[in-house]
Amino acid sequence: MIQAILVFNNHGKPRLVRFYQRFPEEIQQQIVRETFHLVLKRDDNICNFLEGGSLIGGSDYKLIYRHYATLYFVFCVDSSESELGILDLIQVHLPVVFFTAPKVFVETLDKCFENVCELDLIFHMDKVHYILQEVVMGGMVLETNMNEIVAQIEAQNRLEKSEGGLSAAPARAVSAVKNINLPEIPRNINIGDLNIKVPNLSQFV
């Protein structure tokens, strides 16, 4: 079983936190911090396994991680998972490991975001979750065939597009305008004003 999947950057800022066992939010943050400090100490050219942190599990658990550009991908797994298998799942750079299964997680992200970088993860956390859901479900590996995974994700994205996406057209337009023209402050003021005015308006109705 996979107990948790954590993605955070070089400064320990969480980019994706997925626990498959219930922990209250504070504990989750604590685990992320602890894990971050554990992996931060380690050079890039040393092995990617760590005997578990104190917060999750115990001696049966291992942290398997990969440092990928500015991001750390950490899986917390118990002894039923193959260390190298999980490592392959995250992604394997070293050609020595001839695992025939595809290098799943990061490469999938690669395909879906064209060239994955931290910013993509930051702004599309939801999408990352949706991708992850096609790979790991409830702590167990669901699919390792990359083509299958990508096909399913694309199909769902098409479905979403056909529904018009989350934000309707006008909102998106405004959002675009906001992003380009308006500086930070007036936007905030606008919202504030509206919030105050609107209740008055509705009273008249």
Partner: protein, 1157 residues
């Protein structure tokens, strides 16, 4: 209306989406918290909108905030709203938020049942998929129960995408709702052969997870998996299956034999390292399980080791790490095959990766031999010098000491070398393991006589060097070695080259910065040194020199007298006075050296930690009985820290001149007893009798022994005990001598005269433990060092065990099984957490299944018990071993099919502590309530955990007359605390009708429910049974008064509890404690426990010999824990309970029950 719409769309235009939120947070680095709270306010506004898109957007942002650590449980209802949106886009957002934030405590989760069911049966596969994914994260027992069937049908869905998700989620459903396992299993098994590889992989995944927790139940699937293993090409699936086989082989050795071949083939053929590694791992597991059975597996081991070597040699650090990890598994069973790769492992010590170095260190332990020990340690020492981090350095340090001292210094051929290694290690700054080094120094110096001279010279230079003093700030720091150094220099001062120099070193003012316990040792040993210097000087006739030394002492000791540490202060002032007295004598030209050194005459021998325990109690001696009422409180000081052990030791011999005749002995005995009464350190510090015996020749040893036993008894001049001791001692001595001779002869034969250090004076009784140790020093290490160790283990000869500390090797072998088990236990946690509570929740239909599970667990428990037993006391070994063996046989013989029965059998004794063989006299829980000529009432009060605060009173009514009894009505006078449950609408004064009539001679049972406010006290309720007795002559109205007694025990409900949960409970510290003792009990312990179980509704948690822990739970959830111990004629019951009143009442009741026995 129009305005509202306008307002809505304007709002929408300015809503932040997730990207805006993220950007905003990034732009507000300084006041992030403030900004976010502002955003949350906005989100709250958005959630109030009717527009589902707005809500979905808000929920999406909340999911992001949740990742940052914000609690979003307040929005649970809104999340459900979004989940139930018709559009996939929104639904997905809702399910994602739910999967991140919902858990069993979320109260609105029950509202989702129907929505999820709808989504599961949705025509769109992605709606279904998203629901399954979400559910996998927040499934609760209720959801699992309600949806299990829907999910089961999805397992045969036409789309593989749904099938694989449905299969996978079944594992979560099983966990939450175990009853579903049996019905769903056939279909799950079917899916192992699903045409779609994804579904197949999911099924393998689920079964592997299940089997990992309970391998036994899945043995029957082995052939199927075997087929899959040989046919599948999916490495992911193969890895899972091979891992599963690793778990199954210990249970079924035949499987292991079959596996070897295909696994070796895979190892040869696969190019995937992950698969190769798992194959090797499983082969190792197979070999371990077969280790005794099959002789021809050396080829397989060779293959494994060879492949692992390839992994270790790889440039990939991960492979290296795993290779070493697997190697250490082989090391345990086949050390030889690993040893040939010593070069490689030593190479790994140079690796830049610390985790790899640590792994390699673990392996080193098994690699050393007499030949290569020095080389290996030399290498480690260079690492110590290079290591930067203190943790790794400390690890190295402990490893060096472990490796060298293992099996009683088996591999050390030159102790001078070892001492110098230890001295080198003292150069480590800031280590936490100073005490370890110190302990080794002491151990070696004491046990290896020949090394003392060398050790002393090294130690004196240590004392002289300043660097150790500097580090005195840290507890357990390296300055601890000064403790050992000071003691060794003092104790073996005759070997010192320049005692005067060392004395001055020890009296430096800087010494006072050392920790108290070290200073104390300094003070004591300064005197020893002083004594030996004095003697030298006097013998050389240098009276002035002697006086100068005394003056030095008088000058320097006061600095210790001022110490803040009591121990130091006390010793220093005592010694200062002594020295001052000596000074006076010296001034009068009286020779004092003789007397001063007599203070420290006699020699110390190492005493095994368990030595004291091993001294047998002479027959007819009851150590617990008071002979005289205790006046002094010297016992209370028994628990002196071991650290000071050695100094105290020599205090006593000072009063024992070497020649003493019987008369004088008798006189002395009196004096000594007086003295001993005042010597708080006496009991602990006395070496075991025969120890002392060895080096104090002649009559002298006799008094020593007498003291040993007579003091703990505090017999003032009882000749009887002395006699005993003397006899006992004589006997032991004789035994010892004989054995020693035998042993020696044997040894000599083996050694064939090679022994160099046969230099010991004679072949007499002097030659025991130390002699061996000296032998170790010579280059020719006797090969029989181990055999002699085994001698010591001989349970019939407790004395041998005194010689050698076997702790280390033993600890290793003890640890392994326990640890393994613990792993298994913790992994069980999902439902194990709080068994009693789980029990409470379970509803009736669940019970059967639950029982089934418990059985499995109990079996494990039992096993654990067996395992735990094995390393326990030696005395009873034989018996226990037999028991174990038979038990082991029992459980092994059973074919996998008969599990249920086995479970049942195994469960019995643990669960309810019912007698294993002994039949119990039949008992009834019904007690007489009241009787008259018409009717007899017996009743039983039962609580149940299902209903809080309710007990059921079952009353059996027996018609004794020849009339028909009808119209029976039971009325009870309610108290504040207890009320009878009456039919709706009836008042408190109404009686409750008995729903039957009784023809003559017939009995029947009626049940009445009572609600209890507080269960902590027992109580009685007055009541009346009124009835009409009708016979041929007519009908009469009759009544019978009774008193219904609710004992505290009747509020308890037998609840099984597992020893770990029990231990947790006891540790929790919320329980108060009380105890009773009942004398004059003849009943067997078995029956006694059964009685307690029966009458007081307890269950046995664990039973060891004549001691048992028991557990029960009141209907209001009080935990009650008991420890029942049976003595000769008495039983003591210690109880712990969350309510003290309840406990004391319970114990009273129990006392009454036991008194009847």
């Amino acid at each position: 209306m129009a305005l509202k719409m306008v307002k809505g769309s304007i709002d929408r235009m300015f809503d932040k989406n997730l990207q805006d939120l993220v950007r905003g947070i990034r732009n507000h680095k300084e006041d992030e918290a403030k900004y976010i709270s502002q955003c949350i306010d906005e989100i709250k506004q958005e959630l109030k909108q009717d527009n589902i898109a707005v809500k979905a957007n808000a929920v999406c942002k909340l999911t992001y905030l949740q990742m940052l650590g914000y609690d979003i449980s307040w929005a649970a209802f809104n999340i459900i709203e979004v989940m139930s949106a018709s559009k996939f886009t929104f639904k997905r957002i809702g399910y994602l938020a739910a999967s991140q934030s919902f858990h069993e405590g979320t109260d609105v989760i029950m509202l989702t049942t129907n929505q999820i069911r709808k989504d599961l049966s949705s025509p769109s596969q992605y709606d279904t998929g998203v629901a399954l994914t979400g559910l996998s994260c927040f499934v609760t027992p209720d959801l699992a129960r309600d949806l299990a069937n829907d999910i089961m049908t999805l397992m045969s869905h036409t789309k593989p995408y749904i099938r694989k998700k449905a299969v996978l989620i079944m594992y979560k459903v099983f966990l939450k709702y175990p009853e579903s396992l049996r019905p769903a299993f056939p279909r799950l098994k079917e899916k192992l052969e699903d045409p779609d590889p994804g579904v197949q992989s999911a099924a393998v995944n689920v079964i592997c997870e299940l089997a990992r927790r309970n391998p036994k139940n899945y043995l029957s699937l082995a052939p199927l998996f075997f087929k899959l293993m040989t046919s599948s090409t999916n490495n992911w699936v193969l890895i899972k299956i091979i891992k599963l086989f690793g778990a199954l082989t210990p249970l079924e050795p035949r499987l292991g034999k079959k596996l070897i071949e295909p696994l070796t083939n895979l190892i040869h053929s696969t190019s995937a390292m992950s698969l190769l590694y798992e194959c090797v791992n499983t082969v190792i597991a197979v070999l371990i399980s077969l280790s005794s059975g099959m002789p021809n597996h050396s080829a397989s081991i060779q293959l494994c080791v060879q492949k692992l070597r390839i992994l270790i040699e790889d440039s990939d650090q991960n492979l290296k790490y795993l290779g070493l990890l697997a190697m250490s598994k082989i090391l345990k069973t086949h050390p030889k095959s690993v040893q040939s790769h010593k070069d490689l492992i030593l190479q790994c010590l140079d690796d830049k990766d610390e985790s790899i170095r640590l792994r390699a260190l673990d392996l080193l332990y098994g690699m050393v031999s007499k030949k290569n020990l020095m080389e290996i340690v030399k290498k480690l020492m260079t690492h110590v010098d290079k290591a930067e981090g203190t943790t790794y350095r400390d690890e190295l340090l402990t490893k060096i000491i472990d490796i060298c001292s293992q099996s009683n210094y088996q591999y050390i051929t030159n102790f001078e070398w070892y001492i110098s290694i230890l001295v080198e290690l003292t150069r480590l700054e800031g280590t936490r393991h100073g005490h370890l080094i110190a302990a080794q120094m002491l151990d070696v110096a004491i046990r290896v006589k020949a090394i003392r001279k060398f050790a002393v010279s090294q130690m004196s230079s240590l004392l002289d060097s300043a660097h150790l003093l500097a580090s005195s700030t840290q507890r357990n720091g390296i300055c601890e070695v000064l403790y050992a150094a000071a003691w060794i220099c003092g104790e073996f001062s005759e070997h010192l080259q320049e005692p005067h120099h060392t004395l001055e070193a020890m009296l430096r003012p800087k010494v006072t910065t050392l920790p108290g316990h070290i200073q104390a040792v300094y003070v004591q040993n300064v005197v020893k040194l002083y004594a030996s210097i004095l003697q030298q000087k006097e013998q050389a006739g240098e009276a002035e020199g002697a006086q100068a030394v005394t003056q030095l002492m008088v000058d320097r000791l006061p600095q210790f007298v001022q110490s803040a540490d009591l121990e130091v202060q006390e010793r220093a002032s005592c010694i200062l006075q002594l020295v001052k007295h000596i000074q006076k004598l010296q001034a009068k030209d009286v020779p004092v050296a003789e007397e001063v050194s007599a203070l420290f005459a006699g020699e110390l021998n190492p005493v095994a930690p368990k030595a004291q325990k091993k001294v047998p109690v002479p027959e007819g001696l009851d150590l617990d009985a008071w002979i005289n009422e205790p006046l002094s409180d010297s016992e209370s000081e028994d628990e002196r820290p071991r650290a000071v052990f050695h100094e105290e030791e020599q205090r006593r011999p000072k009063h024992r001149p070497s020649e003493a005749d019987e008369e004088e002995l008798a006189r002395r005995r009196e004096a000594r007893k007086q003295e001993q009464a005042n010597n708080p350190f006496y009991i602990k510090s006395s070496p075991s009798p025969q120890k002392r015996y060895q080096d104090t020749p002649g009559v002298e040893h006799i008094p020593v022994v007498q003291i040993d036993l007579s003091v703990p008894l505090k017999v003032p001049g009882l000749p009887m005990s002395d006699q005993y001791v003397k006899l006992e001692e004589e006997r032991r001595h004789q035994q010892k001598l004989e054995k020693d001779k035998r042993r020696k002869k044997r040894k000599e034969k083996e050694k064939k005269g090679k022994r160099r250090h046969g230099s010991l004076p004679t072949e007499s009784d002097e030659d025991i433990a130390p002699a061996q140790q000296v032998d170790i020093v010579t280059e020719e290490m006797p090969e029989n060092a181990l055999p002699s160790d085994e001698d010591d283990k001989d349970p019939n000869d407790p004395y041998r065990a005194l010689d050698i500390d076997l702790d280390k090797p033993l600890a290793d072998s003890e640890k392994l099984p326990i640890q393994k088990h613990r792993n298994a236990e913790t992994s069980k946690s999902p439902e194990k957490e709080d068994v009693p509570v789980a029990e409470k929740k379970s509803k009736k239909p669940k019970k059967k299944e639950k029982k089934h599970k418990e059985k499995g667990r109990d079996k494990e428990k039992k096993k654990e018990k067996e395992k735990k037993k094995s390393p326990k006391p030696r005395k009873k070994k034989h018996k226990k071993e037999k028991e174990e063996r038979t038990k082991g046989k029992k459980s092994k013989k059973q074919p996998p099919g008969s599990e249920e029965a086995a479970g049942e059998a195994a469960r019995e004794p643990v669960q309810n502590g019912a007698p294993e063989e002994e039949p119990l006299p039949p008992e009834s829980s019904y007690s007489l309530l009241a009787e008259n000529s018409y009717i007899k009432m017996t009743c039983d009060v039962r609580g149940s955990l299902q209903e809080d605060s309710q007990v059921t009173v079952a009353i059996v009514l027996e018609n004794r007359s020849n009339s028909v009894l009808k119209g029976m009505e039971l009325s009870v006078l309610d108290s504040l605390n207890a009320r009878m449950a009456r039919p709706q609408g009836s008042s408190v004064h109404d009686g409750v009708p008995v729903p039957f009539q009784l023809p003559p001679g017939v009995s029947n049972e009626a049940q009445f429910v009572f609600t209890i406010q507080s269960v902590v006290t027992a109580q009685k309720l007055k009541g009346t049974l009124s009835f009409i007795a009708k016979n041929d002559e007519g009908a009469t109205q009759e009544k019978l008064d009774f008193r219904l007694h609710f004992s505290c025990s009747s509020y308890l409900v037998t609840t099984p509890c597992y020893s770990d949960a029990f231990a947790k409970l006891l540790e929790s510290g919320d329980l108060s404690m009380s105890s009773v003792k009942v004398d004059g009990i003849q009943l067997s312990f078995q029956n006694l426990l059964a009685k307690i179980c029966f009458h007081h509704h307890f269950s046995v948690v664990e039973r060891v010999d004549s001691c048992a822990s028991m557990y029960s739970r009141s209907i209001q959830g009080h935990h009650v824990c008991l420890l029942v111990k049976k003595g000769e004629n008495s039983v003591s019951v210690d109880g712990k309970c969350s309510d003290p009143t309840l406990l004391s009442n319970l114990l009273e009741e129990m006392k009454a029950t036991l008194a009847k026995c």
